[in-house]
């Protein structure tokens, strides 16, 4: 359910940038989404269709660059991806592990069209 408010934020960020860039349409939005953000792409797409109706974003496609959750082991320096649930180091069994990455929630870039060049 938190996809609704996340999608509203994405829409605001995209519209602000589209306005600055004097876009006539927004064709694609590139997101970077870590698994720890618990964002479900299908949900974002549904809300996006509703929120953007009648705007220059209504035909935009959203591309999700998914990032796994990565931890590193302080004992054996192994880095590993979490498979669904939290685990100890699969290499040495230590619980001295620390979070490296996987909670990204970024609008990386947008692709826009301008119908006429400014002369």
């Amino acid at each position: 359910m938190h996809e609704l408010s996340a999608t509203r934020h994405i829409f605001e960020i995209v519209m602000a940038q589209a306005h600055l860039s004097e876009a006539d349409s927004v064709d694609r939005i590139n997101l970077v989404i870590g698994d720890f953000s618990n964002i479900v792409p299908d949900c974002v797409n549904v809300y996006w269709k509703e929120l953007t109706k009648g705007s220059i974003c209504e035909n935009a496609e959203i591309h999700f660059d998914r990032r796994a959750v990565v931890f590193s082991c302080q004992q054996c320096q192994n880095t590993f991806e979490l498979q669904g649930k939290l685990s100890i180091c699969p290499n040495c069994g230590s619980d001295q592990i620390s979070f490296l990455s996987g909670d990204e929630m970024l609008v990386e870039s947008i692709e826009i069209t301008k119908f006429e060049e400014n002369s």
């Binding site: 359910m1 408010s5 939290l86 929630m105 970024l106 870039s109």
Partner: protein, 223 residues
């Protein structure tokens, strides 16, 4: 007609985080310590808040921002009955609170007359994790009845915590809950966090929880 790629690289929650920083500053300017309490539904958030109000009555002035998905005042009514000012914030169906909702709640609390503000977040172990509210401390409540595997199954909400309160320890004789297994999961994600096993029913362990709160409140008042 030209197609252009425009780089942005902006955190989706940047607008929320901006308001959250402002909230934190407003609390700090009033020498208020603010905690955000997160938990699953039924973990005992309201019971712990009521006990905390009772135990700190006379020494700490507490205000509560109650988050709920619908406009029911069941929780805030209990808090007001316990003698603390409470504000009900309705998320209108959203599964988590955000910094703007907290701001609206703050504006209705007598901040000049408070030492501690407790935010009771929506009962949910997934959605509230991403939203910074502007508190100084994130506290997670886990009840014995939920089972000891929750930090292992919901690691994201167990990150960035300052305190974990284990509630309903009076149920330990009846439930297979291994506190060591639970604590291992919590400590993987928060090596230095304080874990407080408590029972609102018997009162066990609540003194350590309120001692911790008092030390945090005192530090905030000196800041």
């Amino acid at each position: 007609m030209t197609s252009i790629n425009v780089p942005i690289i902006q955190n989706i929650l940047q607008a929320n985080d901006f308001v959250a920083e402002e909230n934190r500053k407003i609390f700090s300017d009033h020498h208020i310590f603010c905690i955000n309490i997160m938990a699953a539904p039924g973990a005992g958030k309201t019971a712990l808040i009521l006990k905390t109000i009772e135990l700190l009555r006379g020494s700490v002035r507490i205000g509560v921002i109650e988050g709920d998905t619908a406009s029911v005042t069941i929780d805030s009514d209990k808090v007001v009955l316990a003698g603390a000012p409470a504000v009900q914030v309705t998320t209108a169906g959203d599964c988590h609170m955000d910094a703007m909702m907290v701001r609206k709640g703050m504006e209705q609390l007598p901040l000049d007359e408070l030492d501690l503000v407790i935010i009771e977040n929506i009962g949910n172990l997934i959605c509230p994790a991403e939203w910074d509210l502007g508190s100084h401390s994130n506290t997670l409540i886990a009840s014995i009845a939920e089972g000891d595997d929750k930090p292992w199954k919901y690691p994201n909400i167990y990150r960035n915590l300052n305190a974990v309160v284990v509630t309903k320890t009076d149920l330990l004789p009846y439930v297979d809950f291994n506190l060591e297994h639970f604590s291992q999961g919590v400590n993987i994600l928060n090596p230095d966090v304080d874990i407080f096993p408590t029972s609102a029913k018997t009162g066990a362990g609540l003194d350590l929880w309120t001692d911790w709160l008092l030390s945090q409140i005192e530090a905030a008042s000196r800041a």
